[in-house]
Symmetry: C2
Subunit: 315 residues, 2 copies
């Protein structure tokens, strides 16, 4: 049963990035799966490890390599949630931590709060001994190029609403052999967003949701649309009413398209290890590992496979 | 059918504040109802007007008179949502606006975003011409007293988890004669909260939810618990499965108590004008107006009434 499902963001992917994104999601799936196979490795540990490796990978819009605001700032959002007690931790608008998913986990486990923002979150990171990062250290040349492209050719409005934008948030869901589920999501948000804008990723029920009685979901795409329909919670609701994970993923995204004209993608796992992967954007890099085989893809009908047992090298 | 339902926060209410809180929620219900009766008055206008009057009223923990963080700061959160297109606007961690609900509405109507935080939200408030307020101008002597009391006698953890704490967030739901619904919620958060802590209030699906196909919900209580179960969205889900508003309010709060050991209160309205009011905390000031009669209460079994047609004086 143990399985981990990864997404690397619902987005348009330029041809030169396809291979890098596929390598990145496969690596995350393998690393997450290794955690699940280790003694005492939980679904929560697996989603954190998987998202962390994508935060460290500059090809994704999270952690190092995150999108920049219109004013050229780094503002990161993340969420982690476990399904047993439905505990959650999240951050929004942070710039001084390289791994917002790990800070989210510290908030979940070491504070009485769920969501912390900005400098309050930075203070907490310091209190729990996380090393401070300079925001500049998270900025890549590619993120600057994307910002300049958006500044020249379109507004964030246009980029935000369509099928063809760059919401390459990362996320993971997992179920472990004890039947516990977890999810994690991490993002730099929309390129050229207004300072202070927060999307769906850190909001429980929008960017992710986990409940051992049902399963776990991580979302990506147009954050404003995802928030307005509580997409992750909507999908677990459909599963509770009897839909399989894949059916619920498809129905949830259709509902979002029809109700609020929003596009995105999701990865889903049920508490039985049943898998859902779907997106209404042009592309979404995804991968999952169950046993020794990694399934992965990036175009709508992809279902590629490879042996994952030899590839779990860190970045 | 037009109806507006108000809450003044699920909390322990000290005896000297009972009458002031009841006056405050009745006033808000009457003002919201007047909006619904006016030509072109929508549910959205009604919930904004009702919450605004409570933000201006120092007896409530929202706007003027909001709770203070452990470091004696003002950090306000709010949400507004309409059910027709399910558009939403929200703010978190703002201190320089007297009416966060109105800033939320500007974000909903004049930006491409849903949630804005901290200084980014302040900048946006300035851009749309909202007058800036000094944070000190929102601090009341009573808020300072509450902070000192909490500092002396208990931690925010203890205050947060129990039935007996001071989460006197305000909120409103309404349905207008066209069958459109809306919700609004506004809060200063938990007294003595960590700087940067954000609760349920500004999160769509947690602090509130509105969908013309179902109804609208505004929540109050232990924010962390409310977020973890997406209480507002949970309750509309129950209504969609056939429960009446009152039944769904009770079932949603029971679920939250059982699943994550959290206490709170909700006001609910269906798109047919069916009403739900319930709380699992010791008290919650509430009021609703339908026709000329105002119903109100603060203890679990209260259902007091008075003629509302003569009392709609502003604060």
């Amino acid at each position: 049963m143990p399985v981990v499902v990864i997404h690397g963001g619902a987005a348009v992917v330029s041809p030169d990035k396809v291979q890098l994104k596929l390598e990145g999601v496969k690596r995350a799936a393998n690393i997450g799966y290794e955690v699940l196979q280790s003694s005492n490795g939980t679904a929560l540990d697996a989603v954190e490890a998987a998202v962390k490796v994508m935060e460290d990978d500059p090809v994704f819009n999270a952690g190092f390599g995150a999108s920049l605001t219109l004013t050229e700032k780094i503002e990161l959002d993340a969420l982690i949630m476990e399904g047993t007690r439905m505990k959650a931790g999240a951050v929004a608008g942070v710039s001084k931590v390289a791994n917002p998913v790990t800070l989210s986990r510290h908030i979940m486990e070491k504070s009485e709060h769920v969501l912390m923002i900005g400098d309050g979150a930075h203070k907490f990171a310091d209190e729990v001994g996380m090393p401070a990062t300079k925001p500049e250290a998270l900025v890549t040349e590619y993120a600057c190029e994307r910002l300049n492209y958006f500044k020249s050719f379109m507004t964030a409005v246009n980029s935000g609403m369509g099928k063809s934008s760059d919401h390459d948030t990362v996320g993971a869901v997992a179920v472990d052999s004890a039947g516990h589920v977890a999810c994690a999501t991490s993002t730099g948000g929309i390129t050229a967003k207004q300072e202070g804008r927060v999307g769906d990723s850190p909001c429980v029920g929008s960017g992710g949701f986990a409940d051992d009685f049902i399963g776990a979901v991580s979302t990506t795409g147009h954050g404003e649309a995802i928030m307005r329909v509580c997409l992750a919670r909507h999908i677990t609701g459909l599963m509770q009413q009897g839909m399989k994970a894949q059916e619920a993923a498809v129905a949830g995204l259709e509902y979002m398209k029809n109700r609020v004209q929003g596009y995105g993608g999701v990865v889903v796992v049920s508490n039985k290890g049943d898998i859902g992967v779907h997106f209404t954007t042009e592309c979404m890099a995804w991968a999952y590992r169950k046993g020794s085989v990694v399934h992965y893809g990036i175009q709508p009908d992809d279902d590629l496979t490879e042996d994952g047992s030899s590839d779990s090298s860190p970045l």
